[in-house]
Symmetry: C2
Subunit: 198 residues, 2 copies
């Protein structure tokens, strides 16, 4: 390796990030040191600050630097609907679609026995207090359509029913703009079994 120790250390630290391989890390490190020293120092500062400041919202557990996130503290969001998602990134996607005006609960993962992640690891008992809110009428399960996401939805189903709330699952099927030819068999088969009578 032709880099000096400190550059190598930076390359290694960059490689620890998801989606950044060995070559990308080298290019990033050299580019920052050559051309973006100021932006690099700014990133170092903001990164440290964000990690130190950002915590979990006390109600929905999404990432937020305030005790309550902007959804949980907003009077404009309906307390009657609660959407359960796996990650804060899912909230971003749902908000961009503008299709939901209720509140969220972030699982911060999914039940995955193979990875040793069960209800205890996800601290699912924290959901109980949300489910006992009298204003809450419907819980929407928006975990991913993967094996783990489905298992998580199934697990949650029973505790939500026990709390006497209406539960729904977001619809799965052929995505708009997609072409049937390129849609996978599992999705197509689901689209057929869940077909809607017109």
């Amino acid at each position: 390796m032709s880099f000096s120790p400190k550059i190598l250390e930076l390359v290694t630290a960059l490689r620890a990030l998801p989606g950044i391989g060995s070559k990308s890390a080298q290019r990033l490190a050299v580019h920052i040191l050559e051309h973006q020293q100021e932006e690099g120092l700014h990133l170092a500062k903001v990164l440290k600050e964000a990690i130190e400041l950002v915590k979990r919202c006390q109600f929905c557990r999404t990432l937020s630097e305030t005790d309550l996130c902007r959804f949980c503290s907003s009077p404009n969001r309906m307390a009657s609907q609660l959407c359960i998602v796996e990650s804060p990134m899912d909230i971003l996607a749902i908000e961009q679609s503008g299709s939901f005006k209720g509140r969220y609960f972030v699982l911060m993962g999914r039940i995955s026995p193979l990875d040793g992640i069960g209800p205890h690891e996800l601290k699912l008992h924290e959901l109980e207090s949300r489910l006992s809110e009298p204003d809450l009428l419907e819980v929407i399960l928006a975990t991913n359509p993967t094996v783990e996401g489905e298992a998580t939805a199934q697990y949650l189903l029973s505790s939500i029913r026990r709390a006497g709330k209406k539960v729904s699952r977001i619809a799965f099927g052929v995505p708009f703009g997609g072409e049937l030819e390129y849609v996978d068999g599992h999705t197509l088969s689901h689209a057929f079994t869940s077909r809607q009578t017109l």
Copy 2:
């Protein structure tokens, strides 16, 4: 946007890096804050240290935290050959090929009049002292085979000849492992005009 201000600030700082788009920056920020706080703090620390410590080698101008880089300070590298490259990343590629045992000179860019980069901006006068070294016998031009890289090589050619040194340019042609079918016309045409008699 559904993120809190500090997270947004981190997303913006990550987006300033080359090759990291809006979506990647969001995923990186959330991933670091959710799962890699320790790695993130380490990166912030190393990034700051590297930017503060790493400077240019006094002889070849590559990135190094010591006054002389490991190539310029090594007694094992031949002082008779000097390879001129555009960036420290090029040194990495050449070193990985194990094809050169001389010393380097890093241009830190290329002559590009459209971007306002001329010999003055590249501080090419710093090359003069290297060219006047009596041990130096051959200069190898290894700038990229782009319009700017070629123009830079042409410009350097005259000053190196003036210094009375032998000059060579790395060979261009069809890459090994490549298939003629997929090689671009410019490269193929060069491969024909520069064909070697057997």
